[in-house]
Symmetry: C2
Subunit: 248 residues, 2 copies
């Protein structure tokens, strides 16, 4: 198995992902939010790169079924139903709904990775479950970190390193420079995930705009053991086969 | 002082570098080669992003003064005088010459950083000298790693981390996520620089194409204590004021 990791989606060649298992990571907060929404009973999550395409998809689905979610610069998009706080994606607001989701960084990476042989969403909260999915597939494996505004995000890189460590546990994969770096960052900074996230650029920004509570939620490893997988153009749930079902 | 670091030049906003001291790092091998060329008595090094612009500049200077140097995919460019091995950039081939230099990754980053308040070239071989230059300037400081083919390079990131560690020694700079990550990588992997470089993606490639010897040269910290600085469109030498002069 070869393991590669991209710290930002920008330079990624979309077609090079075609025969790979790809995991998109946007810890703060798109990955964590989508995992939460599906675990809370949402029917599906449809990633949209732009606000315009999100609006169009929602129009086609109709208001009973569609929920518009997402953010720009951490704040809810005007006219949307929900922002990008996982705390919003619970209960009747999401149960049975199709969530059209557009965020500054995460949904861009998800759209970029759409040609993958299999595309999963990963975060600290579903770490074990997503590692299990990757380990089951006899394919090369690529992590696509969403980063932040085109640049590097520490929490995504450490999360990528933790995932690589779990996937590589009893194997000897060939690792790219970036995969080696992600593992090293996880080994150095992964003992204090909450602290690392609170002092990261994105963590500090979220505290500033009033979403500090989300950081603790997103730092809780293995708290939501489900894996969103892309089917056609939508993410649906794939429960970890070895764990007991939660939330229905 | 704020310290930022870009692991790849792609997403960098050129104009955002205008009031910063910028150090471009391409350990294997453009930075190490340009430092060596100027230390060996080259008059100047002119970075060119494309082969075409390099040819044009050389034509304007004339064959007595101009030397064309650089590589694509590690190998000399057809029609050029020198490749990208620092071992070539010594003696009469470079003394007093204007070297027009174009490489796959490094010279792209140098051209991208041309609006910096001050632009220096850094590598392991001039580590202390380039750290001294940065420390003297009362400005925010940005490192631009050249990376490899648009992606992350481990040796550039570890070199960036070592430079940040030296610059930040007795200060308390504000560091971006990527600067924190670079420091962490240096602390984990910087004890065995030669080994790290030999097992990196680019190191393995250079071994394959017969340039393994360059890796040892480029890993020798503080062996060539001079700093190329951009003046107009050319790099010239800035000797470290605290060290004794070498090579003339």
């Amino acid at each position: 198995m070869r393991i590669d990791c991209h710290f930002t989606p920008g330079p990624v060649d979309e077609l090079a992902l075609r025969e790979r298992t790809v995991v998109v990571i946007d810890v703060l907060r798109a990955s964590s939010t989508i995992i939460t929404a599906l675990s809370s009973g949402a029917r599906e999550v449809i990633p949209a790169a732009t606000v315009e395409s999100a609006m169009k998809i929602a129009g086609n689905l109709g208001p009973d079924q569609a929920v518009l979610g997402g953010e720009r610069n951490g704040r809810i998009i005007p006219g949307f139903d929900l922002g990008n706080s996982p705390a919003e994606y619970v209960g009747s607001r999401v149960q049975g709904k199709s969530i059209i989701f557009s965020s500054t960084n995460g949904s861009q990476a998800m759209v970029k990775a759409r040609y993958a042989a299999e595309l999963a969403i990963g975060a600290f909260i579903n770490m074990g479950a997503v590692a299990a999915v990757v380990r089951e597939r006899p394919r090369d494996f690529v992590i696509l970190c969403s980063g932040r505004n085109g640049g590097f995000s520490l929490e995504d890189a450490v999360c990528a390193g933790m995932l690589i460590a779990r996937v590589a546990e009893d194997q000897e994969p060939v690792m790219s420079d970036s995969a080696v770096a992600a593992m090293s960052l996880y080994r150095s900074l992964g003992r204090g995930i909450l602290k690392m996230m609170r002092t990261s650029d994105h963590g500090k920004y979220l505290e500033e705009i009033g979403f500090g509570g989300d950081i603790r939620y997103c730092a809780a490893v293995d708290s939501v053991p489900v894996v969103p997988l892309l089917e056609g153009n939508v993410f649906r749930l794939r429960r970890e086969s070895t764990s007991s079902p939660v939330n229905s």
